[in-house]
């Protein structure tokens, strides 16, 4: 994954080592480096922007708490992302999981023609896509984010969310269909606007 690829591996290693020594300047530098992308992750996993900010703040502090445990400084990109995702999942497990899952009535086995989704995807803007994902019920949103965006397997998702692999698969299927349906609606609207 090219998400957090560092341009200067040597300086990044030094930066991480300085952070491990609790150097405040290095901490600020590292924060400035990753804040945008980490906030993007939080926005995907949170329901609201306020919740995303909370997750972001706590997650960043957790990253600096645990950076001493990082054995390979060169892999800090993926490590930072993983810590933030895991914290977002923890937050979900602690806070929002207990709430009732919105049972979607939109679950219909949909069959798509080959060009349908290609056309649909090409019409969507990122902000709209993010907004649509956030509108999904909690469980679906989590699984879609983990599987489609962050590339986790069903086994990993099951472990992270404390569910079975079968649940993960079924939630992904339902979430995907709901997402496409919502995107379809938004894409059309978006298309009509332009």
């Amino acid at each position: 994954m090219k998400l957090f690829r560092s341009k200067q591996a040597n300086s990044l290693t030094e930066l991480v080592k300085a952070c491990q020594k609790q150097d405040h300047q290095a901490q600020v530098q590292l924060y400035e480096r990753y804040k945008g992308r980490l906030m993007g992750i939080c926005l995907r996993y949170a329901r609201t922007e306020a919740e995303a900010e909370d997750i972001f703040q706590e997650g960043i502090l957790k990253i600096f708490d645990r950076i001493g445990d990082l054995k390979k400084p060169e892999s800090v990109d993926s490590w930072v992302k993983t810590v933030m995702i895991r914290y977002a999942i923890d937050y979900y497990n602690q806070v929002t999981k207990g709430q009732k899952q919105l049972i979607s009535t939109d679950y219909i086995e949909t069959e798509w023609e080959s060009d349908d989704y290609q056309n649909l995807f090409s019409k969507l803007h990122t902000e709209v896509l993010l907004e649509t994902i956030n509108e999904l019920p909690e469980g679906y949103r989590m699984v879609i984010n983990l599987y489609f965006v962050d590339g986790y397997s069903h086994a990993e998702i099951a472990q992270l969310l404390g569910i079975s692999e079968g649940t993960s698969r079924s939630q992904l299927l339902r979430g995907r269909n709901l997402l496409i349906k919502k995107l379809d609606l938004k894409g059309v609207k978006q298309h009509e606007k332009f």
Partner: protein
């Protein structure tokens, strides 16, 4: 043509990763400021804790050193004191058994030896003129006692004692060492007159060990008496005319046996004896040992009143809908005061009581909003999140059962003391009762008011194992502290 789920998933994954995988959103400045502030604060805390750890480490090291050195010193002193006492006793015995005592000595010898003793005890640097004067006096006295024949032979020519070699200062040091090693075996002193005839004199010492072979001391006519031989604290020459009379070869026994060199030991012993008093810890120990834990027999009735002040520990629960900030507790007594009444009985230190508790708690807090205020203070900007204020006021009445164990300690210094630990199970007197389990502890003093009536007074603390949840985002764990007044009445025995 229809796509399989797999193909659709693949396409969706590709699209979403492309769109959202690198999606970056800059956090709001307020979030930035909060995080940077938190990081800075964290670093400050770490530095403080590091300094605290360092200070604690230094103090601990010092304490360890003290703890190590004190017992060591104690042990050394404990071991050295009997040794010094023993040595002192031996010294005293030696003095008592010594055949030569100062009062038994002739006046001339005693004065010389006393002078030597005082000189050696006060100052090691004995002046040469003083010693020489004593030496001349001794020689003169000896010569007066000599028989006429010897006197006639010897007095015709002036006598002198020749120093074998070296300066007088060197002899001051070397001579006592030599004489100290020589003992009852007489040492030969050769007396030289003008006719070059050698006359030997006997130098008597009182040491008992086998002497090494000492070179003879040559006494030459015309030269003065060497200072060192006479000023030695260990030896004194005393003339023994009898030996001269019996000796046809004009031998001279000049001076008396010396006084024992015991003063050095006596001084050391007396110095060490001043360090001796070490009995304080033993006294403290024996005092401590006198502290007695009383056994209370019989039945006692108890009435207890505890004015309380309530403290709270607030736990903020994460909530996506609202975030709580600025939690504060009321410091006013009428909003945080309470009391506890207990009535019961005690037997063999175990107390069983019924309790009634009234508690008040008040806390203010704010729900965070998305509005911020930037405050400037000396070119430093601080961002404060605004909140909607809210208040939680709780007034709880509890009824329950208390079980305690009381220890009564009789201390000779502090008098009669007590210590209580116990558990309390209580239920709130509300329509939806809540259950509580408290652990309580109290210590204090027992004051005898009358025959069989005792007042127990002392601080009291309560710890709750249960939490209250007045609102969704807050959990409160109450603590109470107060001053306990308890009347203990003994059941009269028939």
């Amino acid at each position: 043509m229809k796509n399989s789920n797999h193909e659709l998933n693949k396409a969706l994954r590709k699209f979403l990763q492309h769109s959202l995988g690198n999606h970056a959103v800059a956090p709001k400045p307020a979030v930035d400021a909060a995080i940077l502030k938190a990081l800075q604060q964290k670093q400050l805390d770490q530095e403080r804790s590091k300094q605290r750890r360092k200070r604690i480490g230094t103090a601990g090291l010092a304490l360890l050193l003290v703890l190590f050195i004190l017992p060591l010193t104690w042990t050394v002193m404990q071991r050295s004191t009997p040794f010094l006492n023993q040595e002192n006793t031996i010294t005293r015995k030696v003095i008592e058994r010594s055949p030569v005592r100062p009062e038994a000595m002739p006046n001339s010898s005693r004065s010389l030896s006393e002078q030597n003793v005082s000189s050696s005890s006060n100052d090691n640097t004995l002046t040469a003129s003083r010693s020489a004067r004593h030496a001349k006096r001794s020689v003169a006295q000896t010569l007066e006692k000599l028989p006429e024949i010897v006197t006639a032979k010897v007095s015709a020519k002036p006598y002198s004692i020749a120093v074998p070699a070296g300066k007088s200062g060197q002899n001051e040091r070397s001579a006592p060492e030599r004489f100290a090693s020589s003992h009852n075996q007489p040492q030969k002193i050769r007396v030289i007159n003008n006719r070059s005839t050698y006359q030997t004199a006997t130098l008597v010492t009182n040491k008992q060990s086998t002497p090494p072979v000492a070179p003879p001391v040559v006494i030459n006519q015309g030269s003065s008496l060497p200072v060192a031989y006479v000023s030695s604290a260990e030896e004194t020459l005393v003339g023994t005319t009898d030996s001269l009379l019996s000796d046809p070869v004009e031998e001279l026994t000049l001076l008396n046996p010396i006084v024992l060199p015991t003063l050095t030991h006596l001084q050391i012993a007396s110095t060490f004896r001043t360090i001796q008093p070490l009995s304080r810890p033993y006294q403290a120990k024996s005092r401590r040992q006198r502290t007695v834990i009383e056994e209370t027999n019989g039945l006692h009735w108890l009435l207890n009143v505890v004015p309380l002040t309530t403290r709270q520990r607030v736990i903020l629960l994460p909530n996506s809908e609202a975030r709580v900030q600025d939690v504060r507790f009321s410091s006013q007594l009428n909003q945080s005061a309470g009391y506890k009444l207990t009535v019961g009985a005690e037997k063999k230190g175990f107390q069983v009581m019924l309790s009634y508790t009234q508690l008040q708690m008040r806390s203010t807090y704010a729900y965070s909003t998305d509005r911020y205020v930037v405050e400037e203070n000396k070119n430093q900007y601080s961002i404060k999140r605004l909140g909607t204020p809210a208040t939680t006021a709780l007034s709880i009445q509890l009824a329950g059962v208390v079980v305690r164990k009381q220890l009564v300690i009789n201390n000779p210094v502090l008098g009669r003391l007590f210590a209580n630990v116990g558990l309390e199970y209580a239920r709130s007197l509300e329509s939806a009762p809540q259950q509580f389990l408290f652990a309580s502890a109290s210590v204090g003093k027992l004051i005898e008011l009358a025959q069989g009536t005792t007042l127990c007074i002392g601080p009291y603390v309560d710890y709750s194992f249960n939490k209250l949840q007045p609102v969704e985002q807050l959990q409160i764990r109450p603590y109470q502290a107060g001053l306990s007044f308890s009347i203990r009445l003994k059941q009269p025995t028939h």
